[in-house]
């Protein structure tokens, strides 16, 4: 028998400051002022039915399903009240459907009203089985309807974007989707149209629902009105297995729920993690997962046939033997360089890092498969590598910051959840957001931000000039809690990190580095860089080296002591024969600052081992291709940009796909070295034994370059990646690709006139390598600047132009 504590009598209840006392269903409760009745009741365990109410959206009182009986000051309110809009008050007496027949009848009446025009679509509706309307109609509705007239019908379904389908008959007009779009995402492309019985959700003609966050409306729709084109009719909730997972697309590390059936992922939903992504994820995280089941995925090891020169399938034993022999020979000749790419889990990146040091005896390892600089490495290894959620910037920190300065960082395109936090903070009016960029992007408008425009390449000068020209910004940044967020593009602009560090020193603002890819922060932490060992230990530091040598159990003095080459250095060395071999894991050469150099290096390198998922420009040159597991088929963890460890388990078990750490471990054994990274868990444990090194501080001293005018017929190129573009993890997703933003060039009005361009016409941007012709739009860019998306549609800036952010390009009028 359990002994229940005596319930405190009303007089005994202590009401803390800022709280009120009320009675719900005869039970006395203390609730913080301003809490909504529906939540207070929920805390008591009483679930009041609701459709429009959502804890992260502002109250609307649209569906009227949550009616309760309320008594204030001894006088009952004349009608039942919506508990989702009414806040608690002292002395309130509330009766929910549990104790009040009036409330119960009111709720049943509302349900009957909502069902008048709701079609009997449940068998063909994707929401069937997980539908709040279905569930609540059974729990709180009448068993039969008094209406026998014809239901109102609409043509169905309509595509409000390529990936969101709208069925207006099913809609109960709760406005969760419109409120999400207007409040959270800031993309009010959907709105209520018409009046009365014909009231419906709709989009403006010719303006589809092109939001990076549209998938969230599908998830929060309490009926089947908004459904996903990709998931359409794929499964029912009862035949799906749900596995918690972490998004592998960007550095935010969002919690997700992966639903799979018969060994295939069917859909991904946002997980609930208040510290990171709240309840939202971007469309890339939600819809881009079919790359793992792409037709051309490499499932068996491939070895280049000596006679035919073609890759042929082989056994693991043979492939590992050939790879080990080739790598050993290359190591003993001129050495092997390691390029890991930015998509690895912490455990896998650690295996690469250890493999390079122990099996290849080199520090020639770099995770940066994108424009990079020595200044960036100095900054990352001096400060960023030691940040974590306890001592650095966090999502919640951004929300509380008085000011945020975004340097070379386009939050909506590069880390959408950071954008949502910035917008949330700015919307509350407590955070002022400054964007140091080139033009007023949608993100600038949606974060109510101020654009600090500068010519690409002059970002460092602009930061240095802030105290002089924008003292208000510096003043705001000097307030406690202010943050500076630096994007990956900063590496392409000399002097930026130095300028940022100086500004941070001057103002006391905290700096966070927000890379684009999920694995970059983790790769930095485990030392997949030329100058660091795991834990931020510098390779030139003898004590740190000894520490690592002892923990790894290798001979003292066996770890290479001089910093290695970076990505470009490795490629140059491979191209001119200074390196004999390359070990490449998941790098697309066309993401690299100079794809032509990468091609040359791949062609010249004596021996290449590629760990890949699908055929690429690297596997085309590789001597051995070892297949590895995509994120859903392995366990591991990512470090997100905060430095927060985001662990995830295996979603699809038993596919026999091996994670990188296992492949490298076996390869190392063939080369007589022991990595002890047979499984991600073993790898993580081995890494944990190392612990963290001591910060040595960084000495950043790169002068901001003098930016000279581009010259006649020329312009300075501004460019960054879009969220939805040609990314290798976005293959096979036609519905997602349809919501990409239009591929256009942007140019200032005056510059356009100078080049004889008209908005809506075409522009040709060229370098000596190639030319790109695309439609042009005028925007508020600085003069003499042209902006292109880096890798969207037919526009591949790096591959075609060999140019990057800050390059000088020729501009001329073009025809399609």
């Amino acid at each position: 028998m359990t002994i229940a504590p005596d319930k405190p009598t009303e007089a005994e209840v202590v009401v803390p400051e800022g709280h009120v006392k009320l009675v719900i269903d005869g039970e006395t409760v203390v609730a913080p002022k301003g809490e909504l009745l529906i939540r207070t009741a929920e805390r008591l365990g009483t679930v009041i039915p609701r459709f429009c109410d959502h804890p992260l959206l502002e109250p609307a009182g649209a569906c009227r399903q949550c009616l309760v009986e309320v008594e204030m000051g001894g006088r009952p309110m004349p009608k039942p009240q919506a508990s989702c809009t009414m806040t608690v008050a002292d002395g309130m007496v509330v009766k929910t459907q549990l104790t009040s027949p009036v409330a119960d009848k009111a709720q049943q009446g509302v349900m009957e009203l909502l069902l008048i025009n709701h079609p009997l679509d449940c068998p063909i509706c994707d929401k069937g089985g997980e539908c709040p309307l279905q569930n609540q109609a059974i729990a709180h509705g009448r068993s039969d309807s008094r209406f026998h007239e014809h239901k109102r019908t609409f043509p169905k379904p309509i595509n409000i974007s390529t990936q969101v389908l709208l069925d207006r008959e099913r809609c109960v007009l709760c406005q969760r989707c419109t409120r999400f779009s207007a409040q959270i995402a800031g993309d009010p492309f959907i709105e209520l149209l018409e009046r009365g019985a014909l009231q419906q959700i709709g989009t403006a003609p010719e303006k589809p629902f092109q939001s990076y966050f549209s998938g969230n409306t599908i998830q929060i729709c309490p009926v089947g009105a908004l459904t996903s084109a990709a998931y359409r009719f794929r499964a029912r909730p009862f035949d799906l297995v749900s596995t918690p997972s972490i998004c592998e697309h960007c550095s935010s590390g969002c919690a997700e729920r992966t639903d799979w059936r018969r060994g295939k992922v069917q859909r991904k939903l946002a997980g609930d993690d208040p510290q990171v992504n709240e309840e939202w994820i971007c469309d890339k995280g939600r819809f881009a997962f079919r790359y793992a089941t792409a037709e051309d995925r490499i499932k068996r090891p491939l070895v280049r046939d000596k006679e035919s020169g073609e890759l042929r399938e082989s056994s693991w034993t043979e492939a590992l033997r050939v790879a080990a022999e080739g790598l050993t020979a290359a190591r003993d000749a001129n050495g092997v360089g390691v390029l890991t790419g930015g998509r690895l889990t912490v455990e896998d990146a650690y295996a690469y890092s250890k493999f390079a040091r122990i099996a290849l005896h080199t520090n020639d390892i770099d995770f940066r498969a994108r424009p990079h600089s020595a200044e960036e490495l100095e900054f990352l290894s001096g400060t960023t590598v030691f940040t974590n959620p306890d001592n650095g910037v966090t999502f919640q920190g951004i929300e509380k910051a008085p000011a945020a300065l975004l340097v070379a960082f386009e939050p909506e395109e590069e880390a959408p959840i950071v954008f949502l936090r910035l917008r949330k903070a700015a919307r509350k009016g407590t955070t002022k957001v400054f964007h140091l960029g080139q033009f007023t992007t949608p993100a600038v408008e949606k974060t109510y931000g101020t654009l600090l425009a500068c010519v690409p390449g002059a970002e460092a000068n602009a930061i240095n000039a802030l105290p002089e020209h924008a003292s208000d910004v510096v003043e705001l940044l000097s307030k406690p809690g202010a943050v500076i967020l630096v994007g990956e593009r900063a590496a392409a602009i000399p002097g930026t990190f130095t300028a940022v560090a100086r500004l941070a020193e001057r103002t006391g603002a905290q700096v966070a580095w927000i890379p684009r890819r999920a694995g970059e922060r983790g790769a930095l932490a485990v030392g997949a860089t030329p100058n660091l060992l795991p834990g931020g230990r510098h390779v030139a530091n003898a004590t740190a080296r000894t520490e690592v040598e002892r923990t790894w159990g290798v001979e003292e003095g066996s770890l290479p002591a001089t910093p290695g080459r970076d990505t470009t250095g490795i490629l140059e060395a491979a191209a001119n024969g200074e390196l004999s071999g390359l070990l490449i894991g998941g790098v697309d050469p066309f993401d690299l600052p100079d794809p032509r150099l990468a091609e040359k290096a791949l062609a010249a390198a004596g021996f290449i081992v590629s760990l890949e998922l699908r055929p690429s420009a690297v596997t085309a040159h590789a001597d051995v291709v070892l297949p590895i597991a995509p994120a859903v088929e392995k366990s591991g963890s990512y470090l997100n940009w905060e430095g927060r460890r985001r662990e995830f388990g295996t979603t699809l078990d038993g596919t026999s796909a091996l994670p990188d750490c296992r492949v490298l471990d076996t390869l190392a054994v063939e080369m007589d070295a022991d990595l002890f990274t047979q499984t991600p868990a073993a790898s993580a444990a081995d890494l944990a034994r190392l612990g963290e090194g001591t910060p040595s501080g960084s000495s950043l001293n790169v002068a901001a370059p003098l930016v000279s005018p581009a010259g006649p017929g020329k312009a300075v190129l501004a460019t960054w990646h879009r969220l939805i573009g040609n990314g290798s993890l976005q293959v096979d997703e036609p519905h997602l690709a349809g919501t990409a933003r239009p591929v256009v060039a942007k140019i200032a009005e005056a510059t356009a006139q100078q080049f004889g361009l008209v908005s809506g016409g075409y522009v040709t941007v060229s370098t000596e390598r190639g030319a790109i012709t695309l439609p042009v739009e005028t925007d508020d860019l600085p003069e003499g600047v042209v902006w292109l998306p880096t890798n969207s549609g037919d526009v591949t800036v790096r591959a075609t132009l060999g140019a990057g952010h800050g390059s000088i390009v020729s501009v001329s009028g073009g025809t399609s």
Binding site: P123, I124, G128, R232, F233, R234, F238
Partner: protein, 171 residues
């Protein structure tokens, strides 16, 4: 002596009784009209499938014997009236217990049970019946899907007035 006569008596007496053995398989037993035999996926009078791939049968199945995956009807390839059709449909007769809950769950009367009881085989694979095995044969006037809706403009015409429309269309 008397005991053995008694024994023969039983034998002799039984000769005049109705036999309980059956001449199966030469003579097939006629079942009760509502016998729970093999399932059938029915068709509309013009040959379109009644199954909408809703998976309610799979949901109702206590033996987890049914697998369904829905599909999207397009203008070019229509298998059933309305938006959705059963793209993949499998019943595993190694698991099916013939309870009939699936046919009670079916919202379109697509799934019914026939009286066919000859469900034995010498391997497991052949006892997983697929959509091709389960679909009702095409009767005269029916057309093999995919084809456009012949009896009306939308699925309501099929569900509300299907038989009349079929009659009018002379089927």
């Amino acid at each position: 002596m008397f005991e053995s006569l008694k024994g023969f008596g039983v034998t002799f007496g039984t000769m005049f009784k109705k036999v309980v053995t059956e001449e199966y398989p030469e003579v097939k037993k006629v079942t009760a009209p509502r016998f729970h035999g093999r399932h059938q996926l029915n068709r509309h009078p013009d040959g379109l499938e009644k199954c909408v791939g809703c998976e309610l049968c799979a949901w109702a199945c206590p033996a987890d014997a049914i697998f369904v995956e829905g599909g999207d009807n397009t203008e070019d390839a229509r298998y059933s009236p309305g938006e959705r059709y059963g793209m993949d449909y499998q019943i595993n007769y190694l698991r099916c217990i013939g309870c009939g809950l699936c046919i009670e769950a079916c919202p379109t009367r697509s799934l019914t049970m026939t009286n066919e009881y000859e469900l034995a085989d010498d391997n497991r694979q052949d006892l997983i019946f697929t959509k091709e095995d389960l679909l009702a044969p095409l009767l005269p006037g029916m057309e093999q899907p995919p084809h456009p809706m012949r009896l009306g403009n939308n699925e309501n015409d099929y569900y509300v007035n299907g038989p009349q429309l079929a009659k009018e269309a002379g089927q």
